[in-house]
Amino acid sequence: MRLTARAGAGLFAAAVGVFLYAYSFDIRQPPNLSALSGPRIFPQMVGLALATLGLLFAASETLNPTRIPEEERPGPFDYKAFGLTLGSLALFILLLPRAGFILSETIMFGIVAWAFGATRPLRAFGVGLIVALVVYYVFTQWLGLRLPVGDVFRNEPLRGLLETFGWRP
């Protein structure tokens, strides 16, 4: 008998339940609403349910772990690809306000493609740049979304070049 990852997930859910219940008392109860129709009751119900079912699940997984059939079990954990994909998203969050949409997406695209086994990294970043440019153009010029352009594209000569093609970033 040992704590499996699934049992751990059950404990996590139970912890979330306890948290929801404990902090439900921070919600202000307006005087015109009764306890059963106020803003606290439902979070408390959800918290209690999560805590009970989470513990129940953890117990049942510990006593009688679910056996996942061999062919459905995941293969060995690919830390490199996973880390690169996760890192590329974190990098995107850091870059977006500074480098703008086009560059951030290009870099993320390139890293993810590399993680998923793209053989020629330079080509991956190239494809990423094309995708980012097309997406940026379509979504800002046709569909009216506003996306940060980034300092690189505010550079005057480049801006002049883009504007000759009728594109106002």
């Binding site: 009764s34 959800v46 293969g75 830390y79 993810v112």
Partner: protein, 501 residues
């Protein structure tokens, strides 16, 4: 006669040239994302939401309906030509469909899937048109207490039917409900679990969570698991046609699949997976050559493909008539209605009947377009399967970040997306079902609202849930659904142990 007048009104809207174009856009996009592994209709509709905010609601729903139906057609192509299915509704199709493809019978498999989807999609949509108004008549009479009971029943059945264990499904669902608690409570105006953080006051958006679960978690799981990334594409040769013999063996499974699919989709236990399994085992039982099943029996493709399309039509019935989503895609459609200030349910049929009927009419028309798109152009769609996977997944993440950031222009949302995505990754890795979480996220706040209204009406008498009908029986049914399957399993195990070897 009412039905025909209503449908005629709907078609009048759909046949406007601009709406015909939107329908074509929807079904094409749907087929595209259905074919591409890793993207499904729920994610696509979530990503389309920010773009469609300024559109006429009817046009937006014509697109969304097309995407939902189209994804079912496209999903079968992937299931047949690759050993991994594109959509969960095509899991069963992959068994015999892929075997047929390996024996060089891919064209027949694709044809029976497409025509079966068409037949079942039309039957399902007509049943939707016929039954939804009856459901509405029933729905106007139910009280908040009944509605709360109905939501609980939907919770339990979604948790039971998706995934390996009821408890895991319920935990997934409750986590979705918990995420939806964050932010200002609409009924009292009080902040909940925001801890003074302005970005949490508005809550965590449905789009953010769906994109996190279906794009970020999907990409992370595939990155972590090289085994899941290996796939084998069977090339498609020749025109997609079926012989007289294929047709003789297919038409009954189509009709039976439609008959199984619609009611299962329409029950508050929806989704397209269960009816496909049922249809498959039924066809095997009824077949003259059951030995072919698992080795490439055409009935094993025809039945389940019909069932999943009819189920999608069925899912629309409780969504439109009761405002009750029973699948992840239905949940995001509900969120889309709310974005336009519309609340699915009886009031939708009375207040926006043109919208409802043009959506239903567009589904019928979309079916026809999909048949035309998928039969002669199957080879073109099959080519999409050859998009290099590194570019495909990188592209999915570009659209994910674009959709989440573009909807709110808030970097916090992108951070939430990453956090929820990591949670979804852990859930996938540990074999927790994802769809109940999405249903909980959307249905949770509605369940709360009805619970509290019921309490106000009954002046805090909580026994109202057990004493009034249909609330009481519905809750009893939910309890049976939650408790029965594990007990039956235990009883079976016991009797298997005591039985003489």
């Amino acid at each position: 006669m009412d039905l025909l007048t209503n449908l005629a009104h709907g078609f009048a809207v759909v046949f406007q040239p601009i709406n015909l174009m939107w329908s074509l856009v929807g079904v094409t996009l749907g087929t595209l994302i259905g074919v591409l592994p890793g993207i499904g209709p729920a994610l696509t509709i979530a990503l389309l939401l920010p773009v469609t905010t300024k559109m006429d609601p009817a046009a937006a729903f014509i697109i969304f309906g097309g995407v939902y139906y189209g994804a079912m057609y496209g999903g079968s192509t992937t299931a047949i030509l690759i050993n991994t299915p594109g959509e969960s509704g095509s899991l069963v199709t992959a068994i015999d469909g892929n075997k047929m493809a390996r024996k060089g019978r891919a064209p027949a498999a694709l044809a029976t899937a497409a025509i079966g989807s068409f037949v079942a999609g039309c039957i399902g949509t007509l049943l939707l048109a016929a039954f939804a108004p009856t459901m509405v008549e029933w729905a106007v009479k139910i009280s908040p207490a009944d509605y709360f009971a109905l939501a609980i029943l939907a919770f339990v059945s979604v948790a039971c039917l998706l995934g390996r264990s009821v408890l895991a499904g319920l935990l997934s669902l409750l986590m979705g409900v918990a995420i939806a608690l964050v932010g200002i409570d609409g009924q009292s105006g009080q902040a909940r679990y925001a801890f003074g953080e302005p970005s949490l006051m508005n809550g965590i958006g449905v789009v953010v969570v769906i994109v996190a679960l279906f794009a970020v978690a999907e990409a992370l799981s595939l990155a972590a698991d090289p085994k899941a990334r290996s796939e084998e594409i069977t090339p498609l040769k020749g025109r997609v046609l079926m012989t007289r013999e294929d047709l003789r063996r297919s038409w009954k499974p189509w009709l039976r699949g439609a008959a199984i699919g619609f009611p299962f989709g329409a029950l508050p236990a929806g989704g397209a997976e269960i009816p496909t399994f049922l249809s498959y085992s039924l066809e095997r039982k009824l077949s003259d050559h059951p030995e072919e099943f698992g080795e490439g029996a055409i009935e094993g493709v025809a039945g389940p493909e019909a069932a999943n399309n009819a189920a999608v039509a069925g899912v629309m019935a409780p969504l439109l008539a009761l405002g009750l989503p029973t699948s992840a895609t239905a949940a995001i459609l509900l969120a889309a209605f709310q974005q336009y200030g519309l609340q699915p349910g009886p009031t939708l049929f009375s207040g926006s009947s043109t919208l409802v009927w043009s959506l239903i009419a567009s589904l019928l028309l979309g079916n026809l377009m999909l048949l035309l798109l998928n039969l002669p152009m199957a080879g073109l769609w099959a080519r999409l399967l050859y998009i290099p996977r590194p570019f495909l997944y990188a592209g999915i993440l570009v659209f994910a970040t674009l959709g989440v950031y573009g909807a709110s222009r808030s970097l916090n949302d992108v951070i939430f997306m990453l956090i929820v995505g990591l949670m979804g990754f852990a859930m996938r890795r540990l074999d927790f079902p994802i769809a109940p979480m999405v249903v909980g996220l959307v249905l949770g706040p509605m369940a709360e609202q009805h619970f509290r209204r019921a309490m106000q009406i009954s002046q805090d008498d909580w026994t109202v849930f057990f004493t009034s009908t249909p609330a009481g029986p519905l809750l009893a049914l939910a309890a049976v659904l939650a408790i029965a399957p594990p007990l039956i399993r235990r009883w079976r195990r016991k009797s298997a142990q005591t039985a003489p070897a």
